[in-house]
């Protein structure tokens, strides 16, 4: 079991409340996934490249990091701390240098992008949300995940979302059975994964298809053919989010749409506090069918 939530805002006036809405949804999914939680939150690109990093020892690793990084970059950087995570915004021209410097310092890269920030940790969703002040975050769309681990250990890196390309991320309810073979197939193409986790392979598969020129819709369609196992996937991109379920579709999924938003939940419970949910169109996404919403 795992819990997934997603929210895509159609009404810009709700953007300041995105974090609060998503946090509420995430916490209702605690009993589907009490061991870890994570969220990918997207906001309008503001010119810089945002690198979200994580450290086991933030007080040591983040101390003096900004100054050290600026020795490797041409332009000034901006750094925001949030518990074990830091979001470092660099000029696009400094991206490679900054990433190399961060990796050399042993920091874990959670995600990179112009729009996306990723926060994930082990622990109860309520506690994870509080550590990162998820409620206060604004944005255009976001996806969240509560994890009950099956395929790999309960660690920060095993938590979802997984990001394997700029502004792309994936969360998953289910388990893939051909992930080892797919991991080797992707590695032969030079697409490397960082963990033993099955979902990361799903994310890398989608990213590699998009890198090869496929549209998001085609890449999601490809998961039905190339990935074996149970999955309800929700994937985030710079402009929106997509949903696809395997053909057997035993992992639950429900969607709600109003004039103001499109919401995804593993269960209807996740929607109970959303504004106007009483009048929303609520439906279950069909198996083996790709859905996506873009701005």
């Amino acid at each position: 079991m795992c819990g997934i939530v997603g929210l895509f805002l159609k009404n810009d006036d709700l953007q300041p409340q995105l974090g609060a809405m998503l946090t509420g949804m995430l916490i209702t999914m605690t009993d589907r996934g009490p061991d870890s939680a994570g969220i990918a939150i997207y906001d309008r690109p503001r010119g810089g490249v945002k690198i979200t990093v994580q450290s086991e020892r933030p007080e040591d690793d983040f101390d003096g990091l900004e100054g050290a990084l600026e020795k490797t970059t041409v332009r000034d950087i901006d750094m925001r701390l949030a518990d074990t995570h830091a979001v470092i915004t660099v000029d696009p021209g400094d991206r490679a240098a900054a990433l190399a410097a961060l990796e050399a310092r042993g920091l874990r890269i959670m995600g990179v992008g112009e729009a996306m920030e990723i926060y994930k940790e082990t622990g109860l969703p309520r506690d994870v949300a509080a550590r990162f002040h998820l409620r206060d975050m604004a944005g255009t769309h976001g996806i969240g995940h509560t994890r009950m681990a099956t395929e790999s250990a309960v660690t920060t890196l095993g938590a979802h979302p997984f990001s394997t390309a700029d502004d792309q991320c994936l969360v998953h309810n289910g388990s893939l059975s051909n992930h080892n073979r797919m991991r080797r197939r992707l590695a032969r193409k030079g697409v490397l994964t960082k963990t033993e986790n099955d979902t990361e392979v799903g994310a890398a598969y989608i990213s590699s298809r998009i890198a090869e020129g496929a549209s998001l819709g085609d890449a999601l369609e490809g998961t039905l053919k190339d990935l074996d196992g149970f999955f309800t996937f929700v994937t985030g991109t710079r402009t929106g989010f997509g949903v696809v379920r395997d053909p057997i579709a035993c992992k639950p999924a429900v969607m709600a749409e109003t004039r103001d938003y499109v919401a995804f939940g593993s269960e209807y419970r996740a929607f109970a506090d959303l504004p106007g949910i009483g009048g929303a169109k609520v439906w279950e996404p069909e198996p083996a069918t790709v859905y996506f919403w873009e701005r």
Binding site: P247, A249, V254, Y268, W283, E284
Partner: protein, 227 residues
């Protein structure tokens, strides 16, 4: 009419109140407010009771129902009215996976769509779905009737026993050993009665009937090589 507000009363207390009322056989009517997609709402009722749920429910609403009439004024999550013995469960919206699974009797009336595995292993329940049903519906269904006003997904009635399936719309595919069968007067009579009872806007002669070809009942020795 007693009101149980789930924003103030916990699930076990709600179910205990309903179960006690059902067993007292006083034919009471209860209203449940703020279900907020909770699991296992109004389960295990054993006696005549009217329950109106003002909103949507999560997993396993109205499970193991006997005699009670439960009306959900919203959508229902997976496993609604699972293993119902008798009584009536009405869902105004959609029902998720395996609605009415293993049901032995009573009526499940779904005014919206039902998703995959509707009526799986049903054993005597009547299920009416005013919209569409998903794949693998009525898998291994043994007894009872599944009436669908809309379309059916893949593998309808796979490995079917003696349940009767009536579909007005298209059937994406039939499962193993499920075949179309002749619609006889008794079937039209049954449809006419159940459509009227569930307020369904359809005519009996618009439906097609599907049932078991009974080829899987006994092992065919010619298939021995396939194992």
């Amino acid at each position: 009419m007693p009101i149980l507000d789930m924003s103030q009363t916990d699930l076990r207390e709600v179910n205990r109140s309903l179960q006690t009322a059902a067993q007292s056989r006083a034919n009471d009517s209860y209203v449940i407010e703020n279900p907020r997609g909770s699991h296992a709402v109004a389960v295990g009722l054993d006696g005549p009771l009217e329950v109106t749920v003002k909103g949507s429910t999560g997993y396993y609403c109205a499970g193991m129902n006997k005699e009670a009439r439960i009306h959900v004024e919203g959508s229902a999550g997976p496993g609604v009215a699972e293993n119902m013995m008798s009584g009536e469960v009405t869902i105004d919206g959609d029902a998720s996976q395996y609605a009415g699974a293993t049901g032995r009797g009573g009526l499940l009336n779904i005014r919206g769509n039902a998703s995959s595995r509707c009526g799986i292993s049903m054993k005597g329940i009547d299920i009416v779905v005013h919209g569409n049903i998903g794949h693998m519906s009525a898998f291994m269904a043994q007894k009872g009737n599944l009436v669908v006003l809309g379309d059916a997904g893949d593998a309808l009635g796979d490995s079917l026993y003696e349940a009767r399936l009536f579909v007005r719309g298209s059937v994406k595919s039939l499962g193993a050993d499920c075949v179309e069968k002749e619609m006889r007067a008794e079937h039209l009579g049954f449809l006419s009665e159940i459509l009227a009872r569930t307020g369904a806007n359809a005519k009996p002669d618009e439906f097609r009937r599907y049932g078991s070809a009974r080829r899987l009942y006994n092992f065919n020795i010619d298939h021995a090589d396939e194992y």
